[in-house]
């Protein structure tokens, strides 16, 4: 069973003049952290809103947890943190979790146990009885995460969860997401912080102008095929000669070498030669680019393509 499945999902606004989402098809496996990337106005929030029934599609279909998105009963297994969520300011942190828990259908007995645990989890244990109008943006965001978890959901939609949270807090949120994933929950993440996304996501999708540009494993996107970073301790002269002989392209980069080989066999040939010349290999690391670089490359490609 897929956690999320969309088929040709389309959302147009202003009588078709604005294409927020254009024939968008996506499949998200359960038990993974899936991130949606895209520049502003790409259609990320629209997709989440469509999946949650907040806006209605112009065309196509979608399912969450194998149920059509029109079925609100599925929401019992869903948690959602909206981008600009607005909790009633007259409530305190405990009351926010209580009321939204009740609205989510959680029994009072369960809530009494779960609320202190969740507040502790998001580091708001000491603020339970404080009115949320006194909360900072980061604290509200943490409370939003706790609220999204109040019904112990199987599928979590988090729209910019680390927005307003300091670096230490971001790390805590990251750890929390990983631990939730390890519990078997599916997390659908929408974030501008690409370094965060890179660290936690199993899979990503890149959107632009309502269209899906790429979808796949993070590792597949950020590793560069047949390029390796080679770190040596000595005998660099010999190394250059070997590379020349084997027709391997070589570049020096921050005290290490970047080699471009034809394939794995070619790489192993290089290693054999290096070892036969007693070259001490410190490390051979597959070359990776940052997700940010990859993202910009993809988005700019699309712009040029247009």
């Amino acid at each position: 069973m897929l956690a999320i499945e969309t088929t040709e999902l389309t959302k147009y606004y202003a009588k078709g003049r604005i294409k927020a989402l254009d024939h968008f098809s996506l499949r998200v496996e359960p038990g993974k952290i899936f991130s949606l990337l895209g520049p502003n106005g790409a259609g990320k929030t629209t997709l989440i809103k469509l999946l949650l029934g907040i806006v209605y599609p112009t065309g196509g279909s979608a399912k969450i947890l194998n149920q059509p998105i029109s079925d609100h009963h599925t929401h019992e297994q869903i948690g959602y943190l909206a981008e600009n969520h607005r909790f009633p300011e007259f409530l305190n942190a405990r009351q926010v979790l209580y009321y939204y828990g009740k609205i989510a259908g959680v029994q009072t007995v369960t809530l009494k146990q779960r609320i202190p645990d969740l507040l502790k989890l998001v580091k708001l244990g000491d603020w339970a009885e404080t009115k949320i109008r006194k909360f900072s943006k980061g604290m509200l965001q943490r409370l939003g995460i706790a609220q999204a978890l109040i019904n112990n959901p199987r599928l979590l939609f988090l729209d910019e969860p680390t927005d307003g949270i300091d670096p230490v807090g971001r790390r805590e949120v990251r750890d929390l997401l990983l631990s939730l994933r390890d519990q078997g929950k599916t997390i659908f993440l929408n974030s501008h912080l690409l370094s965060e996304v890179e660290r936690v996501s199993d899979e990503i999708a890149i959107l632009k102008d309502g269209k899906l540009l790429r979808q796949g494993r993070v590792q597949d996107f950020i590793s560069v095929k047949d390029q390796y970073q080679v770190k040596l301790s000595a005998n660099e002269k010999h190394f250059r000669e070997i590379c020349q002989r084997l027709a391997i392209r070589l570049q020096e980069q921050n005290g290490a070498y970047l080699v471009s080989v034809n394939d794995r066999k070619h790489l192993n040939q290089l290693i054999d030669e290096m070892r036969s010349h007693q070259i001490l290999i410190h490390a051979i690391i597959p070359r990776k680019i940052s997700l940010e670089d990859y993202f910009i490359e993809v988005v700019e490609d699309r712009e040029e393509g247009q």
Binding site: L52, Y56, H75, Y80, E89, F90, Y100, K102, I103, G105
Partner: protein, 274 residues
């Protein structure tokens, strides 16, 4: 049911936090204290020997029951008019605040239908008003009854009528709140309907002023379609005074209007993109 109840509770809290509930409650309490001190009766053998209201003698040797009914009838009409105005004002922001971005998305993401969300809010507003209206009606009824020794149960029906009239008018405010998302606008239109109601009641006199018969039909249609607050006020007074009601049409047609407005609002709300 539990989810709807949570929404009603949340609406109560919102009203409480915005001080409208407290203001409502304080005004009701003040009115009751006014009745306690303003009404003075000297009774001899079940017949009043003297009655004074706000320090003025109101006549002599009138049967106490007649005075009580007249007094309660007048108070009921005052409560009906004042209560409606105050209740609509106090609850005018509840629907627009429900549809605010960041709030409505969160509610829709919960396992309840949009109709349940709207109904929860509507019932929350009606419950707030019902609580305050019944507090005022029951408190003043107790004052009148204890002071006179006569228990006119019909007075309690004024509470029911005020709440029903409020629910009908609030259905219109709910519709406008969902469509326009402005509390000031929905309040203005609803007050306008209340002001038009006595005019439409006198439509026989308006016909003479109309140049074309078609306008007459329009006035008639408006009369039958819109809530008949003026007549509901009259029915309230008649119920309190124990006068037989000649026609319940104003009540049931107003209730039909309320049901129609709620139905159409629920339909629109269920199809709206937020």
């Amino acid at each position: 049911m539990m989810k709807t109840l949570a929404l009603i509770q949340l609406t109560f809290r919102e009203s409480f936090a915005k001080k409208t509930f407290i203001a409502f409650f304080a005004i009701s309490t003040m009115l009751c204290f006014l009745f306690i001190f303003a009404l003075n009766l000297d009774i001899v053998d079940g017949v009043k020997s003297s009655v004074s209201l706000f320090g003025k003698e109101t006549g002599k040797l009138i049967e106490l029951q007649k005075i009580l009914l007249a007094l309660e009838g007048a108070v009921a009409v005052a409560l009906f008019t004042g209560g409606l105005f105050m209740s609509l004002f106090a609850t005018s922001n509840l629907i627009p605040s429900l549809t605010q971005p960041g709030n409505i998305d969160l509610l829709i993401s919960k396992p309840l239908s949009r109709t349940q969300i709207l109904t929860g809010r509507f019932l929350g507003a009606v419950s707030i008003v019902a609580f305050n209206v019944f507090y005022l009606v029951i408190f003043s009824w107790l004052i009148f009854s204890l002071k006179t020794g006569l228990w006119n149960w019909g007075f309690l029906l004024s509470g029911v009528m005020i709440v029903l009239a409020f629910a009908v008018l609030y259905s219109l405010m709910t519709f406008l709140g969902v469509m326009i998302r402005s509390s000031a606008f929905s309040l203005m239109v609803t007050y306008l309907i209340i002001f038009f109601s006595p005019m439409l009641l006198q439509r026989d006199k308006i016909y003479a002023l109309l140049s074309n018969k078609i306008y007459g039909y329009i006035v008639d249609s408006l009369y039958y379609f819109l809530p008949k607050t003026a007549e509901l006020g009259n029915i309230t007074q008649q119920l309190v005074r124990g006068v037989p009601i000649t026609s319940w049409m104003p009540l049931w047609s107003s209730l039909l209007f309320g049901i129609f407005m709620l139905g159409i609002t629920s339909f629109i709300f269920s199809r709206k993109n937020f």
